[in-house]
């Protein structure tokens, strides 16, 4: 090598973190352009896989929301031997509110209870002949907050409630609470199982697609190694490419999900002849959407990283 050549110092393109990042990003974008078909297949696969997962999530979230709505019916009623004075009612409410889990407590007087009974038996008033408000007990209707609606929490709440002086009986639809909770547990288990299988399937499909696309470019990987590229130099553009494909796939999946959501709601309204808003089917909340986007990016990144391992032998 001549001295003149040794003295020549080329300007380096990859100096500093930003220099390297911009070089590798440019390389990744060039790769995407040069392998359009393969890139479309990868992005399409990621989109479809994420769309299926997102649709499942949408249905799951809505069903859980609906079930959570039913749990509002978990209500505890405390009956009193004698109707407490208004002053005592305030004191009782205060004590009830102190029990952890109380969301709302409404006092129902004997007169009000009788009114409700009459309302329910409209048209059969004869059954109520001779019945005075004194026959029915005054009560406190208590709503529980979300965290205290399972069987165990309700039972301990009821035990605490019974300690209050004047409370003669407590009713809370024990059987219903148990059934509802076992339904919710089954629902969550099924959801987790199905969701788990779906995630595994998505991982499998996406990682294999990326593996195939990288396999198609194994000559390029081999050549880069032979001309003296470091592992990082070979991997970086592929990883950035994976991230870009994953992000693009996730964006397409979300757009498709939005389209499916509106199309479904419209159809549901036509078929059922009801107001779709009343059905309560809502779009995924922002954290879930962000999770799908991050999921896409991670799928692209991890899929590329694991596939590259197999084809880089330096």
């Amino acid at each position: 090598m001549s001295k003149a050549k040794q003295a020549f110092r080329p300007k380096l393109a990859q100096e500093g973190f930003l220099g390297r990042l911009s070089f590798f990003t440019a390389r990744a974008l060039a790769n995407l352009r040069q392998n359009v078909f393969v890139s479309i297949v990868t992005v399409g696969t990621i989109s479809l896989a994420l769309l299926i997962a997102a649709l499942f999530l949408l249905v799951y979230v809505n069903l859980e929301g609906m079930a959570e709505g039913w749990s509002d019916k978990v209500q505890v009623t405390a009956y009193f031997d004698r109707e407490p004075t208004p002053l005592a009612v305030a004191a009782l409410k205060g004590r009830v509110n102190q029990i952890p889990g109380t969301s709302k407590a409404v006092f129902v007087t004997q007169v009000e209870a009788e009114k409700r009974l009459r309302g329910r038996l409209k048209g059969q008033e004869s059954l109520l002949e001779g019945i005075t408000p004194e026959v029915l007990p005054a009560s406190l209707e208590i709503s529980l907050d979300r965290k205290h609606r399972d069987s165990a929490a309700v039972a301990s709440y009821v035990a605490a409630l019974k300690q209050i002086q004047g409370v003669s009986e407590v009713q809370y639809g024990e059987e219903w609470v148990k059934r509802f909770n076992s339904f919710m547990n089954l629902f969550r288990l099924m959801g987790s199982l199905l969701g788990g299988f779906l995630v595994i399937a998505v991982l499998f499909i996406v990682s294999n697609t990326i593996k195939l696309t990288i396999y198609a470019r194994k000559d390029e990987l081999e050549l880069l190694g032979l001309v003296g590229a470091t592992r990082f130099f070979i991997k970086a553009p592929f990883l950035i490419e994976g991230v870009l494909q994953g992000a693009l796939g996730a964006v397409f999946a979300l757009v498709a999900l939005l389209a499916c959501y509106f199309a479904f709601l419209k159809n549901a309204a036509n078929f059922l002849g009801v107001n779709p808003a009343a059905a309560g089917l809502s779009f995924l909340p922002v954290p879930h959407l962000a999770a799908i986007l991050v999921g896409g990016v991670l799928l692209g990144f991890i899929g590329s990283a694991t596939s590259l391992k197999r084809f880089i032998n330096i």
Partner: protein, 223 residues
Amino acid sequence: MIQLHNVSMSYQAESPALNDVNLKIPKGDFVFLTGPSGAGKSTLLKLLYAELTPTRGQVLIDGVNLSRLPRSQIPFLRRSIGVVFQDYKLLPNRTVLENVAITLEVLGWGKRDIGKKVFHILKQMGLEEKINATPLRLSGGEQQRVALARALVNDPKILIADEPTGNLDDDNKEQILSVFKEANIRGTTVVVATHDKRVIVNSHRRVIRLEKGRLLEVSDVQG
């Protein structure tokens, strides 16, 4: 300086591709490696750029023992060695310019310098008109010259070529050989594996002969 000390190389469950080879190629030398197909020529070349590691013995490049070279250092060794592969290994979806530029991109060169240097070497090879063509649009001779340009563009200390004249006509062979000679004059050590006797005889260079994995002779050929 390239040195091989008692080098043997076996692929799994096969007879050894190289058997107890001892060899010294001084800096700035130009040697031909010859022998029939399956003699171990390609294996020996692969040992030089650390694509393979010997089953036994040691390979030293400028005093560096390749068997003890950490994997992370192999890329830096390869940057000082230009290789012309038997199958060229050109990337079909990249232009001639991009194929040659790879060697300099790996070194971290800037775009402008890469452009200048690649254009210069392609002009030397008579390929300046084909700079934006993809390899599939080139003839065999042109593809070979692109592969040669990629190997030489960073002025390597060692140039290795595996059957570089295999599928070429006489004119192309001459052109390729003259490029090797020019590189050698500039100080590059050149190792060319070939079984083309005419190429060897016309070159007046040292010849290393291999047969069934054994080094048979090292001789100077007079034209």
